[in-house]
Each structure stands twice: as structure tokens, then as C-alpha cells.
């Protein structure tokens, strides 16, 4: 018996709880509808029908002016019928308001209904309406999202409100948006309980909600409240075959184009990536292949290669005329009279030379001696001119310039070679051997060597800081090395400072070397054996 009582108590409690829950739910639903109508309906009292046979009307009053529910009377009259009264109930509302309700449980549709509200016999509200046009339904239930099996689609299905005769008069609005986004789309559907949402992004979560309203032909009303949103993720994206094929075609075309470009510029690219190490093989025919790099051998066997050699060294050098300003008269062979005319000529040409110098590359000018040096030299020349006494080397050689001293030699100059070597060598070679100094060579590139007893030696004035020129025997011919930077040892007494010459020292004023002072071709010292 105790067990029975306990069981009954338990059942009662469960039912009570369930009812309470439903009451709570109902209260919440009512609250929502009231809020909706307060917003949507301007007339008073605000009435709505939830089902086929009911009508709920309410109106709002401020708490201060509100009276008790007994003070109000709700009178309703159908067309061609007698009036009836509805009992009023009051409920508190938010914002210091009070709500008064009246609910009819049996209604007639498609016929006008007159409503009058009295407060203490004073008419406060009056309204005539058709009940079938004030429906405010509950939101659809069981909103479910499923996948259709296709990209970018979701199927929404729901349970329509259970109104027997109105199923085909219901229309729905489905609102869907990406989860987290406030911008969504709305799709309307009529007399259906499912809808396929298309054009959705793949692999994205969407939130969907729905509301219902009667279509307005036979029945009409207000939009219901939105359902709670339901979330669902669409199918993951798949590579669109069109996009894949287009991408492949484009990449293929680009590859072909790049290949074409590469092939057309392959030589240039090869040079850049894998530069060819220059070898002098082309200039020395057979040197490496036949003689294995033995230069002396090659020299011995090559015909005329000796004389041709300098041309290859200085193939890019420009010939430039050279005028010897002064020479040392070491013997009767050197007529001193050659100098004055030379000097005068030099003096006379001084101005011209200056002009010509100015035309020369400014880079050259920098390498030249400073102007005071020229002035000093000119002074010296003038002094000499005034006092044409045989001068010694030392006075002449006080200049910082390097220049050539010539000795009489018993060697012969090979004339034919002049033509060959004229345009190539930057060397200044001044020869007075066997010839008058007036025939001093003014052409660069005339390297002349004698065979036989002739000896050549070159010295630069740098070697003698005190400007003393060692007096060599008359058997030496000095040859100045040009500023091209090639160091050539022509004698055992080669200067250590021959390299300095390669730094672009320009000698005398008459020097018209057009070779840029900074240029220095790669070369190795070449030893001549005589």
C-alpha cells in the first residue's frame, strides 16, 4: 500500500512537472506573441487566432492608470447575432505596463465580429474584424537540415502547424546565413514542408530558421516568430572539373611560352649561367694544341708570329701619335740642333697641344702630370733655348715625367715592321739609332727589336728619384713602356717599377695617347732574350 501511494505520488509529480513545463512553454509563447502584436498591430484591442476555433484579444495600460480586471468588460457581437461577453484577466508586463486579456474558445470565421471594450461603462476600445485574417500561428516544429548529396545544397524540412483546413494556405519563409554572419538570404515557399537551399558554399556551416504565415487568400494573419536556428555544415568542396581543366590548359600554355623564350635566348642564358672562361687559344694558333703551352717553342716555330704577337696583345689599343719632346744628346749622332727645332716645335705646338690635350678624354687628363710640371718643363726648354748649351741628362731629367733616352745603336731598324705595329702598340719607342732624332718615332705601337747585337733596355725615370739618369754605355737603347700596363722586360736591368707605368702615367705633353689611363690589359711579363 505504501508502494502504491508512492507510485501515485511519483506519477502525480511527473505529470505536474510536465504540465508546469508546458505551462512555462505556453507562457513563453504567449509572451512572444504579445510582443509581436504590440509591434505589428496598431489597433486596439489586439486580437489573434492561434487555431481554428479560438481568439485571444488583449490591450495594454499603464500601471498607474490601470484598474482591476473587474472594471473592464469585453463585449463581442457576430453579424446577425446577439452580443456576448468575455471575461477579462489581467497580467503584469515589463516596463510598468499591465496587460488585459480576453480569450474566446469558439469562434465563427468568414463573418464580421464587433468588439467593444468598456471600462466602468466607458467605451475605450472598438473594433470590427474577421477572425480568419488575424491568425498568428506557432512557429513550425522539428526544423531539420539534411544533405542532399550534392555540392552547395542543404535540405530543410519541418512540421507544419497542425491546422486541419489550412495546410494548403500556409506559406513559409526560410532564412539561411553562414554561421557567424549576419547577412543572410530569405526564400519563400508555399504549401510545402521542405525546401532545398541551393547556391551555398561548400564546407561551410549554415544556420537556418523558418517562420510561417497564412497566404492571405482565404486566411491571413501575422508572421509567426522565427524558430530557433539550426546549424549544419555543407558538403566539403570538390574541385570543379571546369576549373581544373582550365588551370591545366593555362599552365601548359605558360610552360610552352617560357620554353620558347628560354630556347630563343639559350645562348645568352648559358653565357650568364656558365660563362666561358676566356682562353687565349684563339689568338695563339697552335700554342696549346701543338706545343702544349710552351711559348718559347711556339715562338720559335711560328712564322712571323713574333712580330705579330704584339698585335694580339694590343688588338684593342688605339694607336696614338707621339712626339718626343726632348732627347739626350749622348753623341754626335744626336744633333743638338735637333732639339731646338724640336723644342721650338714643341713650344710652338705647346698651345696646340694644350688644345689637343683638352680634347682628350678627361680620364687621361687625370692621369697626366699636373700642369705645373708642364710649366716647369717649358721653362726648362726656354732656358735651354736661350742657352743652347749641351745639357746633361740630369737637368733634363729633373722632370717627373718619364721619357726616353736614346742611344746610338748599331742595330738596324726593321722598317717593314713599322707598318704592322703602328696601330696597335701603345708603346713609346724612341729610336735614334742610326737615324736622326727627327725620325723619332711618334707612333705608338712601334716596338722594334733588333736582332743580333742590338740590345734593348727600358728604364723608367721612376727608378731614379733623384732624377739622375745613369749613363749607360752607348750600347743601350732605352725604350719606355707605354701606359697600357703591359710590363715588358727588355733587358736584365728591367725596372721594378715598370708596373707603375701601367697605372697610366702619361709622359710628355706631346703624348697623344688616347688609351684610357686606367686600362690595363692582362698580360704577363714577357722576357725577351737577345
Amino acid at each position: 500500500m505504501t508502494n502504491n501511494n508512492l507510485n501515485k505520488l511519483l506519477v502525480f509529480c511527473v505529470l505536474f512537472c510536465a504540465q508546469k513545463t508546458s505551462i512555462v512553454h505556453g507562457a513563453q509563447a504567449l509572451e512572444t506573441k504579445v510582443a509581436l502584436l504590440l509591434h505589428a498591430e496598431p489597433e486596439n484591442p489586439k486580437c489573434f487566432a492561434e487555431g481554428m476555433s479560438d481568439l485571444t484579444c488583449f490591450w495594454e495600460e499603464d500601471e498607474e492608470r490601470a484598474g482591476s480586471a473587474d472594471q473592464y468588460s469585453f463585449i463581442y457581437t457576430y453579424q446577425n447575432e446577439n452580443s456576448s461577453e468575455c471575461s477579462v484577466t489581467a497580467l503584469p508586463a515589463a516596463g510598468g505596463k499591465r496587460l488585459y486579456f480576453c480569450r474566446l474558445s469558439q469562434t465563427q470565421l468568414f463573418v464580421p465580429l464587433d468588439i467593444r471594450v468598456f471600462r466602468d461603462d466607458l467605451l475605450i476600445h472598438n473594433r470590427s474584424l474577421f477572425i480568419e485574417v488575424v491568425f498568428l500561428l506557432d512557429p513550425p516544429a522539428n526544423l531539420t537540415l539534411t544533405s542532399t548529396g550534392m555540392q552547395g545544397q542543404l535540405k530543410a524540412s519541418w512540421l507544419p502547424p497542425s491546422l486541419k483546413y489550412m495546410g494548403d494556405s500556409m506559406m513559409y519563409e526560410v532564412s539561411y546565413a553562414m554561421a557567424g554572419s549576419h547577412i543572410g538570404k530569405v526564400e519563400a515557399v508555399q504549401a510545402s514542408s521542405e525546401l532545398i537551399l541551393r547556391g551555398l558554399q561548400s564546407g561551410t556551416k549554415y544556420k537556418v530558421r523558418i517562420r510561417v504565415k497564412l497566404d492571405g487568400i482565404s486566411y491571413s494573419g501575422y508572421w509567426s516568430a522565427w524558430t530557433d536556428p539550426v546549424l549544419m555544415e555543407t558538403m566539403p568542396g570538390d574541385l570543379d572539373p571546369l576549373i581544373v581543366s582550365l588551370s591545366l590548359i593555362i599552365s601548359l600554355v605558360l610552360t610552352l611560352l617560357s620554353l620558347l623564350v628560354l630556347m630563343s635566348h639559350r645562348r645568352f642564358l648559358l653565357k650568364k649561367i656558365w660563362p666561358i672562361i676566356p682562353t687565349p687559344e684563339s689568338k695563339f694558333q697552335g700554342l696549346f694544341k701543338v706545343y702544349g703551352g710552351d711559348f718559347q717553342e711556339w715562338l720559335g716555330h711560328s712564322t712571323g708570329g713574333l712580330w705579330l704577337r704584339p698585335t694580339y696583345f694590343y688588338s684593342e689599343e688605339f694607336p696614338a701619335p707621339l712626339e718626343v719632346l726632348s732627347e739626350v744628346s749622348l753623341g754626335p749622332v744626336l744633333p743638338s740642333s735637333a732639339l731646338p727645332p724640336k723644342a721650338s716645335e714643341a713650344l710652338g705646338e705647346e698651345e696646340d697641344e694644350d688644345k689637343k690635350l683638352k680634347r682628350v678624354d678627361p680620364a687621361l687628363m687625370e692621369g697626366w702630370r699636373e700642369t705645373p710640371q708642364e710649366h716647369w718643363l717649358m721653362d726648362q726648354l726656354r732656358a735651354i733655348h736661350k742657352h743652347p748649351a749641351p745639357w746633361t741628362q740630369s737637368s733634363l731629367l729633373e722632370s717627373h715625367d718619364a721619357y726616353v733616352t736614346l742611344n746610338a745603336q748599331n742595330h738596324s731598324v726593321e722598317e717593314p715592321l713599322d707598318d704592322i705595329l703602328e696601330e696597335t702598340l701603345p708603346l713609346q719607342v724612341l729610336f735614334a739609332s742610326g737615324r736622326t732624332s727627327s725620325e723619332s718615332r711618334s707612333d705608338l705601337g712601334s716596338v722594334q727589336q733588333s736582332s743580333g747585337s742590338g740590345r734593348l733596355s727600358s728604364q723608367s725615370s721612376f727608378e731614379y728619384p733623384n732624377h739622375t739618369w745613369p749613363s749607360k754605355g752607348p750600347g743601350y737603347t732605352y725604350m719606355a713602356v707605354a701606359d697600357s700596363g703591359v710590363s715588358m722586360d727588355y733587358s736584365p736591368m728591367s725596372s721594378n717599377k715598370i708596373d707603375d707605368i701601367g697605372k697610366g702615367v702619361i709622359y710628355t705633353n706631346e703624348y697623344k695617347n688616347e688609351i684610357p689611363a686606367h686600362r690595363r690589359p692582362i698580360g704577363t711579363p714577357i722576357h725577351f732574350a737577345f
Binding site: S53, N80, Q108, L109, F110, V111, K164, S169, S218
Partner: protein, 184 residues
């Protein structure tokens, strides 16, 4: 002359017999959009003639059916009873609209009234397709006066007409057994 009248009588008899013998439409018209179109046209007519001055020159009273629908009560009625109400009501409206057409002079108003009259006739066809007897053409209404009331203006007549179509006629067509079988 008597022979000619006799021939005409025979001819009419034959036609009537043939008319009766004609089978009703095989497929029931269950699409609610058919009636919805009639309802919308009736509403448009009501709206258009609401502002008619002096009732568009229409005078007199018209007998119209009651339009109220109580679903609770409706549940207790069977289809036959509902069909009877609908058909008698349609008959009354047909009569009233015919009388109105005679009264009006404006061609626009006449065309609107004609349209509604033809819709009522079409509704009879729809009912017949649902195996509901068309009593709209019957000379006497099948229901009593309690189911009717009187109106005295064209706008009221048209309003009642719209409400009748929206309510009782629609419910009858929605609940027609022929359509119920198709939907299930």
C-alpha cells in the same frame, strides 16, 4: 406552325436527354488555386466597386446566404449538408448578381459583374466534377430562410459574396471526398 413547335420540343427533349446522359468530368478538380482565382476576382470586384457613388445606381434588397463558419459545428456536418449549403448559396448569389447587372448602366461595372457570374457558373462545374450535385440551377433553394439574410447595397452584396467563397465553398472543396482520395 404546330409541326415546327413539335419539332422544337422534340429537339429540346433530345438535347436535354443528351445533356443528362453526358458523363460528368472524369477528373475531379481539386486544385485549390482554381477557387483561389475566383476568390481573388470577387475581392477585386468588391474593392473596385466599394467607392461606387450611390451604390452604382443599384437599389433594392438581395437575399444572400449566411457565410459564418464554425469549425466545431462544421466537424459535425457531413459533406452532403455542406454541399447543400454551398449550392443554395451559389444560387442566391447568381440571382442577386443577375438582378444587379440589369440595374447598372456603366459598361465597366457590367463586365465585372459578368465575370463574377461566370465564376459562379464555373464553380458549379467544379462541384459536379467532385460528384457533388449541382443544384445551383435548380429553381428553388434547398435551404430555408434561416440560412439567409438580406442586404441592401451592392458593396455589402459583394462582400458577402467574397466571404461565402472564402469560407464555405472553400471548405467544401477542401474536404471533398474525391479530393481526399487523391491526396492520400
Amino acid at each position: 406552325m404546330s409541326s415546327i413547335s413539335g419539332l422544337v420540343a422534340v429537339l429540346l427533349t433530345v438535347l436535354q436527354w443528351a445533356g443528362r446522359g453526358l458523363p460528368s468530368p472524369v477528373r475531379p478538380i481539386c486544385d485549390p488555386r482554381v477557387l483561389d482565382r475566383f476568390i481573388m476576382e470577387a475581392r477585386d470586384t468588391e474593392t473596385a466597386l466599394r467607392g461606387c457613388k450611390a451604390g452604382c445606381g443599384v437599389t433594392g434588397t438581395f437575399v444572400v446566404p449566411l457565410t459564418n463558419v464554425d469549425f466545431v459545428v462544421l466537424e459535425t456536418k457531413d459533406t452532403e449538408e455542406q454541399a447543400l449549403e454551398v449550392q443554395s448559396g451559389l444560387f442566391l448569389f447568381g440571382q442577386a448578381l443577375g438582378a444587379v447587372r440589369e440595374s447598372v448602366s456603366r459598361a465597366a461595372v457590367k463586365s465585372l459583374i459578368d465575370n463574377n457570374k461566370s465564376n459562379i457558373h464555373s464553380l458549379g462545374q467544379v462541384l459536379r466534377s467532385l460528384h457533388i450535385k449541382d443544384l445551383s440551377l435548380s429553381p428553388a433553394p434547398a435551404v430555408g430562410d434561416s440560412a439567409t439574410r438580406k442586404v441592401s447595397s451592392l458593396s455589402e452584396l459583394l462582400r458577402v459574396h467574397t466571404n461565402f467563397l472564402r469560407g464555405k465553398v472553400r471548405l467544401l472543396l477542401t474536404n471533398a471526398p474525391a479530393c481526399q482520395q487523391n491526396s492520400t
